[in-house]
């Protein structure tokens, strides 16, 4: 198993996938997360998860400010995209595993 994949939690992967193609602000990510999964994500969880991803250099951040306060935008880096791609491959292999031996239930 390659590094940069299994260390990531489910939530980290979901958030990484959301910012894979475009740069999004925290609130936009929370809204898209709800749209995609049907579940709410708290801002505390969102920002601390992105902080971990940033520490691992899987996302880049850009700060801005408007009249309501500070905004942080997130975007996946090249290594973030690679980690996402590897994880997807891993899960697709795992999903197929054992099917040829009648392992499907």
């Amino acid at each position: 198993m390659e590094s940069g994949m299994m260390n990531l939690t489910e939530k980290e992967l979901q958030l990484l996938a959301l910012v894979a193609t475009e740069e999004l602000a925290g609130r936009e990510v929370a809204q898209r997360f709800k749209k995609e999964t049907g579940k709410e994500i708290s801002y505390g969880t969102l920002y601390t998860t992105f902080r971990r991803l940033k520490d691992e250099k899987l996302v880049t951040v850009r700060d801005a400010e408007d009249e309501d306060g500070r905004i942080r935008f997130f975007k996946a880096t090249a290594s973030g995209l690679r980690a996402l791609h590897r994880t997807r491959e891993h899960y697709s292999v795992l999903a197929r595993f054992g099917l040829s031996w009648g392992g499907a239930t």
Partner: protein
């Protein structure tokens, strides 16, 4: 008549152009969509008054009189704009008092979490605005925002901090095994 009015407007605009202070205020307000209409109305009003002023004043005093009149209107507009901004900010702070809770909590956090809390505070302001637009009751808003601030803001940050604390211990234990 139209050409006379255009000439008057042109004269007022030329007066604004000739006064650096006035020009600065005009440039600031004309791009601001909240007050630009008001500025255009001031100019049109001055243009309408121009024939009267021309009759009463000597030509050398005309530009000064227009400048003075516009300058006083523009500064009044600025003070109104600032008061509106202050009121709006105070209203937001009063409504989203949960942000104060987050602020006091942030004083016990490190710089990274303090920053995260600042981003969260903006998100709460927008949430409150959305709820207000959806005409939710103020008690519902207060409960929802307090819940989110406590269990969606403070608790995840504390648990993340705790996880960061025990992470090296877990890794050391793993390598020891």
């Amino acid at each position: 008549v139209k050409s006379k009015r255009n000439q008057a407007i042109w004269f007022v605009l030329k007066t604004i152009d000739g006064d650096p202070k006035l020009k600065k205020l005009y440039n600031e307000f004309i791009v601001d969509t909240t007050v630009s209409e008001e500025v255009v109305r001031f100019i049109q009003y001055e243009a309408r008054l121009l024939p009267e002023k021309m009759r009463c004043l000597a030509s050398k005093h005309l530009e000064a009189a227009i400048s003075y009149s516009l300058y006083s209107q523009f500064t009044h507009l600025r003070s109104l704009k600032e008061t509106a901004q202050r009121t709006r900010k105070a209203l937001i702070e009063k409504e989203v008092w949960q942000n104060k809770l987050l602020y006091y909590f942030s004083r016990f956090c490190g710089p990274a979490n303090r920053e995260n809390i600042q981003f969260m505070q903006r998100d709460f302001i927008l949430e409150a605005r959305d709820m207000r637009q959806a005409q939710h009751h103020k008690w519902f808003m207060a409960t929802a925002l307090t819940w989110r601030a406590l269990f969606g803001g403070i608790l995840p940050i504390m648990s993340d901090g705790l996880l960061r604390l025990i992470k090296p211990v877990k890794e050391a234990k793993k390598s020891g095994d």
